[in-house]
Structures are given as C-alpha cells and as structure tokens.
C-alpha cells in the first residue's frame, strides 16, 4: 500500500501540484489507487461447459486450486434455439429425444469435471438448463455474485486457426466486468 502511495505522490503530486486532487479524481480510471492495491480474493467461480469446450488444461485446475474452499458452479446450458429448430424441422418427439440426450451428456461431463474440482478442495454445484449460452452466462455473472468466469475459447461453437475464439465467448467476455479465464 505505501509503495503505491509513494509512487503516486512521486509521479503525480509533483507534476499536478495544487491540482493533484482534481487530477486524481478526473483520471482515476488510469491510476491504481492505494485502496485498490490489495490482493484479490476469489470465492465464487462460474464455469460454463458444453460439448465444444474440450478438455480442461492442467493450468486451469492448477489455478483454481489456489482458491481452496471456493465454490464453483459448473453450468451446462443447452441452446434453446437449436432445440426449437429441431422441433420445427423434425417434430416434438425428435426434439425431446435430443433434449434427453443432451441432458445425459451434460450430467456425465459435469460429473467428470466436478469430481476433479472437488479433489482440489473446491465446493461444486452443478446446473443444467435450456437457455442462451451467451445471454444466460452474462446474466449469471451479473446477478450471481461470481468473482471469476472460467470458460473455454471454443464454448458455444467450434473454433479455427483464423477464428480462435468462438463468437459466444467473444460476446460473454466483452460484457462481463469480473475477471475471466479463457482456456
């Protein structure tokens, strides 16, 4: 804390002179203020997964293990629009079959990830629902009091060398205000 006070004083107080307080107020978006110079705490993590997400790298587990006791919400959202299109083209029965298959897959995938996270001392909650992968994740981050988002760069769709981040992830990361870990 005192280091930064010193830095700000040295770098800005001398330059701004009498206008120091005014400058500090006006340009605070560019300055890390002394009260912001603290080690952040992560106690709640949102982790959306789907069939595109792929394998979670060791670096993600290693990083999450730095937050023992934190709660991780592993959420699998089935895209409502996809199910609606299936229902319109192939009928309700086929759509229902797909929904059940997706639910089975979601449970299996969530269990695999959850058991790995629990071994790291994290508390895990599983959620499955039908909705919008981007909008619902953004809403959950806004309303759910999460400190960190952990998401695959291919969440929501396949990626390529020329488009290495899925449009769903682009939208999510542009909107969330909390830290996001993209793997």
């Amino acid at each position: 804390m005192d280091i930064f006070t010193r830095l700000i004083q040295k770098k800005f107080r001398g330059i701004a002179g009498e206008r120091y307080e005014e400058v500090l107020r006006r340009y605070r978006e560019f300055l890390l203020l002394p009260e912001e110079f603290v080690l952040p705490e992560i106690s709640s993590v949102l982790m959306p997964i789907d069939r595109f997400s792929g394998e979670i790298p060791e670096g993600v587990y290693e990083t999450l293990s730095a937050y023992p006791g934190a709660s991780v919400t592993v959420v699998y959202i089935s895209e409502r629009k996809t199910l609606e299109i299936i229902e319109q083209t192939l009928g309700r029965e086929e759509a229902e079959k797909l929904r059940k298959a997706k639910l089975e897959f979601a449970k299996k995938l969530s269990e695999e990830i959850a058991s790995r996270l629990e071994k790291l001392g994290l508390r895990v909650e599983r959620k499955y629902f039908i909705g919008s992968k981007s909008d619902d994740v953004i809403t959950m981050m806004e309303e759910g009091d999460f400190d960190l988002l952990v998401v695959s760069r291919s969440y929501g769709s396949e990626v390529s060398r020329t488009s290495p981040v899925s449009p769903v992830v682009m939208k999510i990361v542009q909107h969330v205000v909390k830290p996001a870990m993209v793997y």
Binding site: F30, P40, R153, Q174, V182
Partner: protein, 149 residues
Amino acid sequence: MKVLVLIDGSKWSQKAALHAIAIVKRKGGKVILFSVLDRREAKAMAFNLGLVSENLKDVQKFEETIWRDMKKSIRNIMVNLLEFCQKQNVNCSFRVVEGPTREKILEEANSGQYSLVVMGAYGRSGKTRIGSLLEDVVGLIEPPVMIVR
C-alpha cells in the same frame, strides 16, 4: 507454478499482476512480469505531437524523449510491483523487451514454460475494445489466459 503477467503500464495490467501474485502466494512458484515496448508507438506519438503543436522540426527530439519516458515509466511500474512481491514473499522477476507487441507476447506466452497468463482487459488508453485483443492475442496464447478488469 509459473505465471506470466503482461504489463503495458495500464491500471488494468497492474490489477492483473495482483491476481497473479495472489495465486503464486498460495500455490508457490514464480511471477514473471513481462512488458513489450514498441518503438513505433513512440514514433506515432511524437508525430502526432508534432502535428498538434505545429512543430514538426523537433519531431525526432519528441520521439527520443517519449521513448526514454516509456522505458522509464514501465521500469518504475515493474520495480514497484517487484517491491510488492517481496513484501508478500512471492518470487518474482521482470523482463522488458523491445519489438512488435503482439509477436513478442505470443513468443513469450507460448514458450511452454507458463501454466497461466494474466493480463488487463484494456490498454493504456482505457478505451480499446477487448474484441480485437481476444482474437489477436488471447485466442493464440496456448496456456489459459486470465483477463482482468
């Protein structure tokens, strides 16, 4: 674990460093503070300054001054973060390289030695949209990338 922090001098990159320090403090390992200085940035700033101040004859002098200040400024930030790491008993070092930012970042981040890369969401202007950054840098970095706001 070895964590790479991309420092561009912005408030957000310094906040990113705090996240990395917190992780390494709990997990052990090392924080590497990494910054790329691109001479072209000083050149562009000097030229714009010359245009605005209607003094293009001194543009080269402006460039030298800006370049020197850029190096000094980033070094000050690194040294302060290093001091903070020492207080937190976190092993930390810094490296400043010169060259094209994107290429140098990708080269370092993908060198195979990092478990995590941490960076700020915005640049020094505070206005850069994260979209281009996501595709151009984050999407091409192999280890997980934590983006901090």
